[in-house]
Symmetry: C2
Subunit: 216 residues, 2 copies
């Protein structure tokens, strides 16, 4: 078994799509913005979308002290976290063989609530992971804001990564019957930044914003 792998992260099917590369894991996390965090609440499943940042081998999730989810994580730390980036629709000659192409990550772990003394650093790290360089261009966090925030950390130690390649694989017997097959790529990119107000319209677009807009 590879590092970062466990019985429950091993792909049971279609394992030709599995990636065991840490670079792939980090790239998928760094290129995206929202994960779906599942936990067990009163014996029932609950899944909530959350913004995140990655710093080294740690995933940070943040929420408000008023957030029900954050309070639940204090007593139910076991989480399963999933991120899926759809890259294309795969249209085969049959609907049976049709599907989707994607890059996806599933993470198993325990959410650890970051203690107060580490919170300000973790918050800035999380913000700079979302929009690199943005912290230095922003109004600094206040103590009150830090106090109003909960950050939880999940180590990236038990993960599963899947990457599809954009190909159609119709069987021989479906060929030359006049059915079309192909890929419809899905393209996601950032549009031009829109200043919020007159003050912002007069200022130059900050470096961090220009960089992230160019990235996509």
């Amino acid at each position: 078994m590879q590092p970062g792998q466990s019985e429950r992260t091993k792909l049971k099917r279609l394992d030709y799509k599995a990636s065991e590369s840490q670079d792939d894991l980090y790239a998928i996390l760094d290129d995206n913005f929202v994960v779906h965090v599942a936990l067990v609440a009163d014996g029932q499943p609950l899944v909530i979308p959350m913004a995140y940042g990655r710093v080294g081998n740690t995933l940070y999730l943040h929420g408000s002290t008023g957030s029900r989810l954050m309070r639940m994580l204090a007593t139910n730390p076991a989480v399963c976290i999933s991120l899926t980036e759809l890259t294309a629709l795969k249209i085969s000659r049959s609907t049976f063989n049709s599907g989707m192409h994607y890059r996806s990550v599933v993470i198993f772990g325990n959410a650890r609530i970051i203690p107060d003394e580490e919170k300000a650093i973790a918050l800035d790290a999380l913000s700079d992971s979302l929009v690199p360089g943005r912290v230095a261009e922003s109004r600094p966090m206040t103590k009150k804001e830090v106090a109003a925030t909960i950050i939880v950390a999940v180590e990236l130690d038990e993960t599963s990564v899947k990457i599809s390649t954009n190909e159609v694989d119709d069987p021989e017997e479906d060929m030359n019957l006049g059915y079309w097959a192909g890929i419809i790529p899905l393209e996601s990119r950032f549009g031009k930044p829109i200043p919020a107000d007159e003050e912002s319209a007069k200022l130059p677009i900050p470096e961090s914003i220009q960089r992230i807009t160019r990235r996509s």
Copy 2:
């Protein structure tokens, strides 16, 4: 309480973002392709991305009879399903007030395994929900393919819908200090369909594929 609402779907915070419109729920589901399905497996949370279709007030999920998740749903029918469509990054003057704009759906329900006699109809309905009109242009399903597939249905009876509007709401004291604020819209669209092979390259692009490519 509205129809489709329950104690657990009521938003505890930021409820100005809640939508109680069934049209919004259906539109978000119809415009997207992947949901994250959470269930409790041996007391632990598990969340898996799945393709889906909506037919009326029913969400259909499909998988292989070989799929571990599908087998687990037979004995653990309680699910929580989440879909998040990121529409923009909201860049405030402070990282504290920064965030994301999105449309999201959370669905609570019980997964019901579709019996064999209804499966062929449900499968075609699911396929036509993903790419409207595609079933008529595809090689028909075989009995063997239908047998190899499990479809589960979840009724859209207990749901929560959130829609952000793209605005920045910095407090007065953060204004006129020289910090930029704005919105970075995220645009997702389908690219030009890519035929899979020589046969497909010679055929016209089918209507259903042209339609879905134009839609985005």
